[in-house]
């Protein structure tokens, strides 16, 4: 409790196996209502594939050498990683923390607050894995996957989901109320949704935006990796995209847990 300044935000996290109990609680809730949960994950990408891929795609020239629908299909998988984990660890976590007092109930047991937050983050990553695997299944059915490397998307979705969960949890730790999640949603998530090489190649953007999008937007790296995996065009530069997640995820993981401790332990 005594460290102050920047160091206090990056104090290492001590976890036991107990964070899985929190993960398991969320899984139990998910399984109770799984029909409702699977539906949007399945339906939304279908809409985009039909509307953008088949509809708009007829007017759009190939992007980065790929027919439009094949270009956007892996992006839809990456977008589902972002959305599912980000919203799980903002709105859903906030409801559990603030309205349902679920965290309060759990920390009265041998499970620590750090483990509660870690369980939430790992659950957010799991949501990413579940949803993006469903989307992956959809684009396989549509015949838009050309390489068995596409299977790598499944473990990737967990890592990407963990990063977005951790970033989301940082916002949850500082948000004054649930409505304020509109700010990160519109100022962070929506720009990424549009500008991360999702629906058009980022090379058409002004160079400053390109630099920001290709360095700072996590979604750009997720889209690049997913697209390479479904198309089967592997290159060494993908290691950089992967390394980007390996470096940033632990940072935000630890930061979000410390921010939550500052919020909840007075």
């Amino acid at each position: 409790m005594k460290t102050s300044g920047v160091a206090s935000y990056l104090r290492p996290t001590r976890l036991s196996y107990r964070f899985w109990r929190v993960w398991r609680r969320n899984l139990d809730v998910f399984m109770k209502t799984y029909k409702v949960n699977f539906f949007p994950a399945l339906f939304e990408p279908l809409l985009y594939l039909v509307g953008l891929g088949l509809g708009l795609g007829g007017f759009v020239r190939p992007q980065e050498g790929l027919p439009y629908i094949i270009f956007i299909a892996p992006a839809l998988v990456a977008i589902s990683m972002m959305y599912s984990s980000f919203f799980e660890c903002t709105y859903a976590s906030f409801v559990r923390m603030y309205f349902q007092k679920t965290f309060d109930a759990i920390i009265a047991t041998p499970v620590s607050l750090e483990e509660v937050i870690a369980g939430e983050l790992v659950w957010g990553a799991t949501k990413s894995l579940i949803n993006s695997t469903i989307v992956l299944g959809v684009i396989v059915v549509f015949g838009l996957v050309y390489s068995p490397f596409a299977l790598l998307i499944i473990p990737l979705s967990f890592l990407v989901g963990l990063l977005f969960s951790a970033i989301a949890m940082c916002f949850t730790a500082i948000t004054p109320n649930i409505d304020s999640f509109n700010y990160p949603s519109f100022l962070f998530i929506t720009p990424m949704f549009i500008l991360s090489g999702t629906f058009f190649s980022i090379t058409v953007l002004p160079v400053e935006v390109q630099i920001i999008a290709s360095i700072f937007f996590p979604l750009t790296h997720a889209v690049t990796l997913s697209r390479a995996f479904t198309v089967g065009t592997l290159s060494p530069t993908l290691l950089l995209n992967f390394a980007w997640f390996v470096v940033t995820t632990p940072f935000f993981f630890v930061l979000s847990i410390n921010l939550m401790k500052k919020r909840l332990i007075k």
Partner: protein, 311 residues
């Protein structure tokens, strides 16, 4: 009676326990001991620091200073071990609204590493104990507030705790619900569970607690057995009559060493004299709306903490 408690082990001990939130001193250097097997009550007005103290004991709130041990373990070092032996029934409803009654208990058992088969067994026993068997598969929002309190009590027992901490266990309950909770608390004490509770119901404290501390503004203002405190501070009986200037003067001369209090339109007379002192006076003179009643903990409480409203 109180001596029985004195002879047993100290289970919880606080020395100069202090908690500050910024400039606000919520708990101000208090000392207390809770003995094994007793029902120990924190009694105090809203904002006195009762809940804050409870939260420090069950290790969810860090101390600002002082020392606090549970079963000789330091709360700042052995939080996990301490939490394993404590069951907590918080003041607010934090049951899991996503689950049914039974599932709430099973999920909670998992946090304590209770094996699955054992958890199911305890779940059935506890639902029976708090009379919620028929509500087993009902979602939380369909329970009445009394049922929720009982489920919270059951949940606090899922780890078979040595210490049970109840933060205002009967607030908002009807008399039936309250008496049911009291019965359960007493039967748990018989089973050997040490119980620490907070309340602002005097009746509850007098009814249940072996020992109480009265807390006000973060400080302990008095401690002891409820009956001893009543004798010490307000005597055995209280005379109450309708207010009248003359009557007031008369009572002052008749009971020179008594304490007179005027509360709205009534005069209350407190004295340390034994039972029966007021009877003569009532027989000789007729006062308007006079009555003699037993002194109670509420008299002690109001004497010690005043009548000012608390926010």
């Amino acid at each position: 009676m109180g001596c029985a408690a004195m002879e047993s082990e100290v289970l919880i001990e606080a020395e100069n326990l202090t908690k500050k939130f910024g400039d606000l001193v919520a708990v101000d250097s208090i000392n207390f001991k809770v003995f094994e097997g007793e029902i120990f009550g924190f009694l105090g007005p809203n904002g006195a620091g009762k809940t804050t103290t409870m939260k420090m004991v069950h290790c969810v709130l860090p101390l600002t200073s002082g020392r606090l041990t549970v079963a000789d373990m330091d709360v700042t070092k052995d939080a996990r071990e301490i939490k394993k032996m404590i069951g907590v029934a918080p003041q607010e409803d934090n049951l899991d609204p996503d689950f049914t009654v039974c599932h709430n208990l099973l999920v909670y058992a998992r946090y304590f590493d209770v094996p699955k088969a054992e958890a199911h067994k305890r779940c059935e026993e506890l639902l029976k104990f708090v009379q919620l068997e028929e509500k087993r598969n009902v979602l939380i929002d369909q329970l009445s507030s009394g049922m929720k309190r009982r489920l919270i009590l059951a949940r606090a027992l899922i780890n078979e705790p040595q210490i049970l901490m109840l933060d205002e266990p009967t607030t908002g309950l009807d008399p039936q619900g309250r008496h049911l909770i009291w019965d359960k608390i007493r039967s748990l004490q018989k089973q050997g569970v040490t119980i620490v509770l907070t309340t602002h119901y005097m009746e509850e404290a007098a009814e249940l607690c072996d020992r109480i501390v009265i807390v006000d503004n973060g400080k302990i203002v008095e401690e002891g057995k409820p009956s001893d405190l009543i004798k010490k501070h307000v005597g055995e009986e209280v005379l109450e009559v309708a207010y009248d200037e003359d009557v007031s003067n008369f009572l002052k001369s008749a009971f020179p060493d008594a304490r007179l209090e005027v509360v709205s339109d009534r005069i209350q007379v407190f004295t340390n004299k034994p039972r029966g002192v007021f009877t003569d006076i009532l027989n000789k003179f007729s006062f308007k709306a006079a009555m003699i009643r037993d002194a109670n903990l509420e008299d002690v409480f109001l004497k010690l903490t005043g009548r000012r409203l608390r926010e």
